[in-house]
């Protein structure tokens, strides 16, 4: 009902950008990475995107939609930002989308990406949940002699991640070891004790395991796996199983795990060297894919706002994003898919190995380039 000035852009050629991420609760680790990634880009580009001073408004996504929606409402309806970015949970994104429709503001998400009917205003610099699995399927097929056991957490993310693998794996003639040929899903986040599942895996006689977990569940899974009777069965995972802080908590238990991801700190290209250097200058430890995605979101906005002309309205920015084409990034160049508005990018096979004192995810090979 109040001030109808053009949202976001204000006199001093500055632009208002809203960042929504879990800064408290279960996903705090990821949320902070996402915030830091975006801020790192701003700091390394003297606070400007597309030549405009950025006024970054941060809000807390909390544990999911029930807190994300009101926070997003504040960003969109009170602060009237002209772009929204961040958002950890797919559910949160789903909850925010109606608001985007209502306020006609684009979202450049840097993590969660649910199934969406209409993506006209939704862009993601991360990936579609089913892509990691699809990317690693061929490699597993080639290198595993025997059937593979698929297990994952029982929520949308888990379903998608594992569907990605099982579909692709099945297409190329791979066989699942699961009793009924269907993926085993464990209650999430309730499951803290995985040993009963390990017993089933043992019984199934699988030659390898493919899984996806993140956060505490990932720690529990890996530590218990290493102590269980199937500790010698090779473990393949969507990268998040050993990504970021969890790797430290897992310690030696994680040694040797294979994971597929769109990024690894030891990638050898100019952007990445710059990015990692800048990151290490500010934070201890290496950057994660979460931070990278957010960093790229900033990069995307940098170019889009620049291209949107001297009145970068939300609409203008949205159209500009659609015309960016190739984007150079620490993960290697990628571009937005025209159908899904998420990256068409290359995926890497990584293994947890000793690197100096610490363990780290070392790239051991390139996998397919995925994206529709």
């Amino acid at each position: 009902a109040c001030g109808d000035d053009a949202p976001g852009t204000s006199a001093g050629g500055s632009i208002k950008i809203g960042l929504l991420a879990s800064l408290s609760g279960t996903y705090q680790a990821v949320g902070t990475e996402i915030r830091d990634g975006f801020q790192l880009y701003l700091e390394t580009h003297d606070g400007k995107l597309g030549g405009r001073q950025v006024d970054l408004v941060v809000a807390d996504e909390g544990n999911g939609a029930q807190t994300a929606v009101p926070a997003a409402t504040k960003l969109l309806k009170q602060d009237r930002v002209s772009v929204l970015t961040g958002i950890v949970g797919g559910g949160s994104v789903a909850g925010v989308v109606p608001l985007l429709e209502e306020t006609k503001v684009p979202l450049v998400g840097s993590n969660g990406r649910p199934e969406l009917k209409d993506v006209s205003r939704v862009w993601h610099t991360s990936y579609l949940s089913d892509e990691p699995g699809a990317a690693i399927a061929q490699h597993v097929r080639d290198n595993v002699k025997g059937s593979v056991y698929a297990i994952g957490p029982d929520y949308q993310g888990g379903w998608d991640e594992l569907r990605g693998f099982t579909d692709a794996f099945g297409k190329i003639g791979g066989k699942l070891a699961n009793a009924d040929g269907k993926t085993t899903f464990t209650p999430f986040p309730a499951t803290t004790n995985f040993t009963p599942y390990f017993a089933r895996i043992k019984a199934s006689g699988a030659a390898a395991v493919f899984t996806f977990y993140a956060g505490s569940a990932a720690v529990d899974f890996v530590k218990q796996y290493a102590q269980s009777e199937i500790k010698d069965i090779p473990l393949y995972a969507a990268g998040f199983l050993t990504e970021g802080g969890v790797l430290n908590a897992q310690g030696d238990a994680a040694r040797g795990i294979y994971s597929v991801l769109n990024y690894s700190p030891d990638l050898d290209n100019a952007e990445n060297r710059a990015f990692v250097a800048a990151w290490k200058a500010k934070h201890d430890g290496s950057p994660t894919t979460y931070a990278l995605a957010s960093y790229d979101a900033a990069a995307v906005l940098d170019r889009a706002i620049g291209a949107a002309g001297n009145d970068p309205t939300p609409e203008a920015i949205n159209t500009a994003i659609g015309q960016l084409g190739q984007i150079a990034s620490p993960r290697g160049t990628w571009q937005f898919s025209t159908s899904t508005h998420s990256p068409v990018q290359k995926w890497y096979l990584r293994q947890v190995r000793q690197d100096g004192r610490a363990l780290s995810n070392t790239v051991v090979g390139d996998l397919a380039t995925v994206g529709r």
């Binding site: 408290s24 941060v58 809000a59 807390d60 544990n63 939609a65 807190t67 009101p70 909850g95 949308q156």
Partner: protein, 336 residues
């Protein structure tokens, strides 16, 4: 007479608040209006929680179940059958009532903290079902793109925050008024009596389980109606809206409002929920800390509301010759 004064003051405050709520959408910005609308829905659930916890003496963490039932029923009806608010409201209330009726056998015989745990289980199970019944609920990512409602046949749809808020306000006010009237009748008296001393109520010939079942179903209906308000206010619902933390916050809000008073519960629940939503936007990363400190503070600021020993989940053991209430008997068991 002191009580008289207090009652008058309460009445005046209530009137002021109501007036404030009516004019709110024209003085505050869209964000606040939207938040208020959403808060009204949750406050209405708070009322149903108070009805059970404070009046009937069945402390509950499970009102999110009928709340969810109402919300999803409303969403389904809204997208497949009718966009008329009254219809959706009726369906939602019905769904809530049915769910409550189904869970009656679980709760009527239990008391105190046992009810708390049973209802908690019911709530959690509801969330699990919502997450997995994807064909209807859209799974853990929830249902989006629900069509805007029109309050009544022939009226325009509620397109903006103001109208949605006013709709929520009218519905809430009506239902709360109905509850207040209900409590003035014999029903309210008997419920309070049952909470005081159930065995005595039986000894004078009352069918206590019957009353409790009635209260439980009524509360379910209210929660269901609140569910449809949430759909209107938020145009998106997901299992996360009905999780444990929601029911916990509602219960605490009701406690702050003074369990036995419906008005208090309304305000308490509204304050707690609003505080949470507001803090997550305002103090990214520190919301839980501040919220926690606020809770601690209220205990000291509202001694009358909170510190009444009445709201105990485990009443002192009855004297030898009154039959012990189930839970006390449970204690007795454990002490054999």
């Amino acid at each position: 007479m002191r009580h008289e004064v207090i009652r008058r003051a309460r009445g005046a405050i209530a009137a002021l608040v109501l007036a404030g709520l009516v004019v709110a959408p024209w003085v505050v910005d869209d964000y606040t209006t939207a938040i208020l609308a959403r808060t009204l829905a949750l406050a209405l659930v708070g009322v149903s929680v108070a009805l059970l916890t404070g009046v009937a003496g069945l402390p509950t963490l499970g009102q999110t179940a009928p709340y969810a039932a109402g919300a999803y029923a409303c969403a389904v009806v809204g997208s497949r059958v009718s966009d008329v608010g009254i219809v959706q409201l009726a369906v939602a209330a019905g769904a809530g009532a049915v769910l409550a009726a189904l869970t009656v056998p679980l709760v009527v015989h239990a008391r105190g903290v046992v009810v708390l745990m049973i209802t908690l289980a019911i709530g959690e199970l509801a969330v699990v079902v919502l997450g997995r019944w994807r064909s209807v609920t859209g799974g853990t990512d929830g249902l989006a793109g629900i069509a805007a409602v029109r309050p009544f046949w022939g009226l325009p749809t509620l397109a903006n925050d103001q109208s949605r808020y006013l709709y929520a306000l009218v519905v809430t006010a009506t239902l709360v008024g109905a509850v207040l009237l209900l409590l003035r009748t014999r029903a309210g008296l008997l419920l309070r009596a049952g909470r005081d001393d159930e065995a005595r109520l039986r000894a004078s010939g009352h069918r206590v389980p019957l009353y409790l079942s009635g209260a439980h179903i009524a509360a379910g209906a209210i929660a269901g109606a609140a569910g449809s308000l949430l759909v209107v206010a938020q145009q998106y619902i997901s299992p996360a809206d009905f999780g444990f933390d929601t029911s916990a916050l509602l219960l605490l809000g009701v406690v702050i409002g003074g369990t036995a008073s419906v008005g208090g519960a309304l305000v308490g629940a509204a304050l707690v929920i609003a505080a949470r939503d507001w803090l997550f936007g305002l103090l990214p990363g520190h919301a839980p800390l501040v919220l926690g400190l606020l809770f601690v503070a209220t205990v000291y600021l509202l001694p009358t509301g909170v510190n009444r020993a009445r709201s105990r989940l485990r009443p002192p053991e009855a004297p030898s010759h009154q039959p012990a209430a189930p839970e006390q008997a449970a204690v007795a068991e454990s002490h054999r």
